[in-house]
Amino acid sequence: MRYFLIGLFCLLPSLSFAAVAKDIAEDPVIEMRMMHLAEKVRCLVCQSEPVSTSHSEWSHDVRNIMREKMKEGATDQQILDMLVARFGKSVLYDPPVDDETAPLWIAPFVMLFIGGGLLVYQLKKRRSKVVDVTLTPQDEQRAAELLNEPSSKDSQA
């Protein structure tokens, strides 16, 4: 009897099948294309996640709209343009270079230029500080003494 009950309980999980969320297009080609495109789009609700992997409602809707538009024959660019027109350029992970975003694209090079300029300037200044001096015989003797000092100490030891 006990084993029968255990066996019965083991069967319980088979009743708990859940309906799989229907979040894929019937057409696998469109699904592939959509997922590929969705990787390039930022989920505005989660910000640091692309629409392709996000579980947010908003991303879910965007994926559905992408599928719909693809079925209607829209190109990837048309879909991206449509999203940009509604949500702004920040929905794209790779924003286009234009008047508004140009400072962001140029800034690293400007900073590199300023940094490089400062480095060259400093190095030049340092070089000009080093001046050739002619040593008098006394100086040379003193220098030789200082340089030989350690070896003389060694011999003493």
Binding site: W58, I65, G88, S90, V91
Partner: protein, 175 residues
């Protein structure tokens, strides 16, 4: 002397940027729709599906389009502010019940009061998508010519109502 002044200046510039960044909400994405005509649509009203609403009806008036939903928590904070504001009758307020079940939307308004002159039902969120909605509540100020002049992401508070929305509305109404 330069040795100390230069780093100090650089530090101050950096501080200004960091300080500004501190107060910024990165979730607030500037809407490209500002300065553009409000997208056209036609949707049934929440209470009566036979009645339709279209933004064209509002031409010649400055009006507010407020996107909300019964499932939206921040909308509950916003609701009393909106109730108070609508009692001033400054301008028509149109509510969009976004991705919501009709009955639940109506229940919310019945229980908490209805601040809207008209409420429309955007059950599948298509209109919300056209308006670039990605987080409710969102509020749009639309001018007499049907152009979106301002978009508020997040709830209306007494502060942003007084400092941002009301001055802008008054300015647009005077035009």
């Amino acid at each position: 002397m330069m040795r100390f002044i230069l780093p100090l200046i650089l530090f101050l510039i950096l501080s200004v940027f960091l300080y500004k960044g501190l107060g910024r909400d990165t979730r607030e994405v500037p809407s490209p729709l500002i300065g553009k005509a409000a997208p056209a649509f036609q949707l049934p009203t929440l209470q009566d599906t036979a009645k339709q609403f279209s933004p064209k009806e509002m031409l010649g008036k400055v009006w507010l389009l407020n996107v909300w939903a019964s499932w939206c928590e921040a909308c509950k904070d916003e609701h009393p502010v909106l109730m108070e504001f609508s009692s001033q009758k400054m301008l028509p307020i149109v509510g969009v019940d976004y991705k919501d079940k009709r009955e639940q939307g109506m229940d919310t308004l019945k229980n908490a009061g209805n601040p809207y002159d008209q409420v429309i039902s955007d059950a599948d969120g298509k209109v919300g998508f056209d308006y670039g909605v990605y987080g409710v509540p969102e509020t749009y100020v639309i001018d007499k010519t049907g152009v979106i002049r301002f978009k508020l992401i997040g709830p209306i508070t007494p502060d942003n109502l007084r400092d941002k929305l009301m001055p802008l509305i008054a300015e647009l109404q005077a035009k």
